[in-house]
């Protein structure tokens, strides 16, 4: 399973609010 990363923080926060799931924020400098 590949992680489906959100790239829009506002959308991610809305999804967290709607689902009750916490947010995992990953800040990286690695090649994407």
């Amino acid at each position: 399973m590949e992680i489906q990363w959100q790239r829009d923080i506002e959308a991610a926060q809305r999804e967290a609010s709607q689902t009750g799931k916490p947010l995992l924020l990953d800040f990286t400098a690695a090649p994407l």
Partner: protein
């Protein structure tokens, strides 16, 4: 860590995952006061940060940090039973590494907060006499010993 199936499954099931790259979203680094990579932050559903860690970790340690973050989130929303369960599972997990002593400490706190029974703290202090005896968390719990 992220290509690891265990990590990917756990994140997908437990979190809304968001990623920012230092060159593509520098504004996110500034907004969340991120000074180094990799940085991982866990925020509750209301948007309040509950846990943060920096630097690369091997998979078992990374997983332990994620689980610690979920336990902190449960404790800080006052869900004492869920917090106690999550901390206890970490404290008893031989793969939890350096997170385990902290989890044991917060197991006692969560049980005490949930029940009001101070013997939960004394019990935790007693556990530290045989486990993680040299950890800073054992020192913090020592004040609870009867």
């Amino acid at each position: 860590m992220y290509p690891d199936p265990q990590v990917a499954n756990f994140i997908t099931e437990s979190f809304v995952p968001y990623r920012a790259h230092v060159k593509e979203q520098p504004e996110a680094f500034e907004r969340f006061d991120v000074q180094w990579t990799p940085t991982v932050a866990i925020r509750d559903a209301a948007g309040t940060e509950r846990h943060r860690f920096e630097g690369y970790l091997p998979v078992p340690d990374f997983m332990a940090q994620l689980r610690l973050g979920l336990a902190h989130a449960a404790r800080l929303r006052g869900d004492w039973a869920d917090a106690e369960r999550r901390y206890r599972e970490l404290a008893e997990d031989s793969s939890a590494g350096e997170v385990a002593p902290e989890a044991l400490y917060w197991t006692g706190v969560s049980k005490y907060k949930g029940t009001g029974d101070p013997s939960a703290l004394a019990e935790t202090a007693g556990n530290f006499k045989t486990r993680f005896t040299d950890s800073p968390w054992a020192k913090k719990a020592s004040v609870w010993a009867q």
